[in-house]
């Protein structure tokens, strides 16, 4: 694999305001040598996809604690595919019950990280799976 910098969009879809996790992940990815763009709060799936395409990112990492993940995460994956950006690695994290994870994986979310995940695990996952 070439030593090209990995570009990540850390995004907060929906109306949830909990951004502690998103900001911690953003900093940890940056400290691991990646280029990180943070979307800020209250992004619609359309806005996230537009930013991902415009910034030509390799990874979209979404964080959501409001319970709207089943609605919003797959929508982002679907819109990315429609934009021809289906090589982008789409991940999710937050308060997400284990029982929802299979559904999310079937719908374009490569991996889901739940509370207590060390940031190093997320870094390694990206390094090993980015396309």
């Amino acid at each position: 694999m070439s030593e090209k910098l990995i570009r990540v969009l850390v995004a907060k879809p929906g109306l949830d305001g909990h951004d502690r996790g998103a900001k911690v992940i953003a900093r940890a990815l940056r400290d691991a040598g990646m280029e990180v763009i943070y979307s800020g709060l209250r992004q619609t799936p359309e806005q996230i996809v537009a930013a991902a395409v415009q910034e030509d990112v390799d990874v979209v990492a979404m964080s959501l604690l409001s319970g709207a993940h089943n609605h919003l995460f797959p929508k982002v994956a679907k819109l990315l595919a429609e934009e021809g950006a289906d090589d982008v690695l789409v991940m999710g994290g937050g308060v997400i019950p284990d029982s929802d994870i299979p559904f999310l994986k079937e719908n374009g979310i490569a991996e889901v990280f739940t509370p207590g995940t060390p940031t190093g695990e997320v870094v390694n996952y990206i390094k090993n799976n980015v396309r």
Binding site: D19, A68, L72
Partner: protein, 559 residues
């Protein structure tokens, strides 16, 4: 307060002890760490004695409970009179579902209500808004109009129960709905008791449910102060919140500092709007977090009380003792809960409950063990409430006022928290106050720095979280989590559509345009909002009118 000769004697004894016995022990057994510190980074000594507290002055620093500077509590008899209000934050799905949960909690011995609204309601969107899809009824109850509010409080007499509502940007709209429900129940507004959160500054800094820019938001807040001081005298018009600042990752000292800095900004704004400080200050209330570092938390609550008393009396010249009192609600720390071995959370919550009670809280919400995974189930909510009841009825800590006062360590920590928090407040003052500090991203950056530092400590195993980075076990996914049915969204949209067809739409239009005109002047908007709500204008319609005139807030994002 201490006798000089006696202090010398103690200092000498301590020195001898350190050089002798302690040194001998250390030579054989090292301590667990080179340096000990609280979560706020306050160094913790091996031993506290009167020497570390030599400037202690009982009357100046503590006083009597119910007296300035209120370090020991705001009431003279505290929990010997009555326990704190046990108030579980609840709400999900539809008004019907939440009404059922409230009546269950009241039946279980809960003594006050605390309403959680879903995110669209908190951000002023009706359930049929595109941006609301997927969020309806998820983190709280969906309320679109007075009609939903009538269902929410069905068979709950509003003159008997006190109700806290976690609502900020659209606080005036939900307060108007509550007043309108009371009117329908035949309860006069002067009988209403409760709290609206109404604290926009921490929304910009830490929680995220803002709508309008700071200027008009502060106006809406001072409008409520003024309206309630004349019409709803027993209503707490704001709950100045450190809870979410702490959840976002601040330390205990930062929690106190940024909360009181926000408090100062609200008092400044109200005085600038022409209100008399003693006319509104007695209805200001506060909301803090309670974490696991038990004694630092107790010190935090005591320091906050003493600081606010000084700020109100010395800085703002308030004369009424009620204006000096920091009355607060506490919630145990959501971010301290682990998804791993969720039963362990019951123990954490018990420690945090004890901290809040030993810190003199006026009301308390205890988190449920499953909240790192989902909204709490009925069973786990019951355990959380029982935790409070056990501390109240069985622990004995409620039988005397402020039992930890005079502890050399606790008094020393109380001073240290005050010192650290005061340094922040002075810094924020030089920046032009909390609003400016938030607009520049200063407070957000301080919080994010602390949160990241904490995370790094956990990952380096310098800070142990039991069950998460030590003492792990293999676990099966837990069952019985509460799930909100996605059909709630559709049902809510249908209900709203039916309402819009059946209500007097001409009256709605008229009231909304009167509100629009009033928003352009400097009139108090509360009566206009109330008029629109009474004719069943929806929350989204009212907020949209104000969006038109006030615009929307766009934050600066600082990593």
């Amino acid at each position: 307060m201490y006798d000089k000769e006696k202090l010398k004697e103690i200092a000498l004894a301590k020195e001898e002890w350190e050089k002798g016995q302690v040194a001998k022990t250390l030579a054989k057994f090292k301590e667990r760490k080179e340096e000990f510190a609280t979560t706020s980074g306050i160094p913790v000594e091996r031993l506290y004695t009167p020497v570390e507290n030599q400037d202690f002055d009982y009357v100046r620093d503590l006083g009597m409970p119910g007296q300035y500077p209120y370090t020991r509590g705001v009431q003279p008899t505290m929990y010997r009179g009555r326990f704190w209000t046990m108030r579980q934050y609840a709400g999900f799905a539809t008004a019907e579902d939440s009404n059922k949960r409230y009546r269950y909690l009241l039946d279980q011995g809960q003594t006050g209500l605390s309403v959680a609204f879903d995110l669209p309601t908190q951000i002023g969107y009706d359930s049929d808004a595109e941006i609301a899809q997927g969020e309806i009824g998820k983190v709280g109850v969906a309320i679109d109009s007075l009609q939903d509010m009538e269902v929410l409080f069905d068979q709950i007499p509003l003159d008997k129960v006190s109700t806290s509502m976690t609502i900020n940007a659209p606080a005036s709209v939900l307060l108007a709905m509550y007043i309108a429900v009371a009117e329908k129940q035949g309860v006069t507004v002067d009988k209403l008791q409760g709290t609206i959160q109404n604290d926009i500054l921490k929304e910009y800094a830490a929680r995220g449910t803002y709508i309008y820019p700071p200027g008009p938001s502060m106006r809406l807040i001072t409008n409520i102060f003024e309206f309630c001081s004349k019409n709803v005298p027993n209503w707490n018009t704001i709950s100045i919140s450190g809870y979410h600042i702490r959840e976002a990752g601040s330390t205990a000292a930062q929690e106190v500092a940024f909360t009181l800095a926000d408090g100062i900004a609200y008092v400044d704004a109200a005085i600038k709007a022409g209100l008399d400080v003693d006319g509104f200050a007695g209805r200001l209330s506060f909301f803090f977090n309670s974490h696991n570092d038990l004694l630092e938390e107790v010190a935090k609550f005591r320091a906050a009380r003493r600081m606010w008393a000084k700020i109100m009396r010395e800085r703002f010249g308030a004369k009424n003792p009620r204006s000096w009192m920091l009355r607060f609600h506490t919630q145990t720390g959501g971010s301290t809960l682990t998804a791993q071995q969720p039963e362990n959370n019951i123990v954490r919550v018990a420690i945090q409950t004890l901290a809040a009670v030993l810190g003199g809280t006026q009301s308390l919400h205890t988190n449920s063990k499953d909240e790192a995974l989902a909204l709490p189930s009925e069973e786990s909510v019951r355990i959380a409430l029982r935790t409070q009841q056990i501390v109240a009825y069985e622990s004995g800590v409620c039988d005397t006022v402020d039992p930890l006062a005079g502890s050399y360590y606790v008094e020393s920590l109380t001073n240290e928290i005050e010192k650290k928090a005061m340094e922040y407040i002075e810094k924020i003052d030089t920046m032009g106050g909390a609003t400016k500090a938030i607009e520049q991203g200063y407070i957000q950056k301080e919080i994010a720095d602390s949160s990241y530092a904490y995370q790094k400590e956990v990952e380096a195993n310098e800070r142990i979280v039991v069950g998460m980075n030590k003492f792990q076990v293999e676990e099966k996914p837990i069952e019985g989590l509460l799930r909100v049915d996605p059909s709630v969204g559709e049902a809510q949209v249908k209900k709203l559509k039916a309402l819009k067809e059946s209500r007097d739409n001409l009256a709605v239009k008229t009231k909304l345009s009167t509100l629009r005109e009033a928003a352009k002047t400097d009139a108090n908007l509360m009566p206009f909002i109330l008029d629109a709500i009474r004719v069943y204008a929806s929350e989204g319609e009212v907020c949209d009118v104000l969006r038109e005139i006030f615009g929307e807030y766009r934050p600066v994002e600082i990593l």
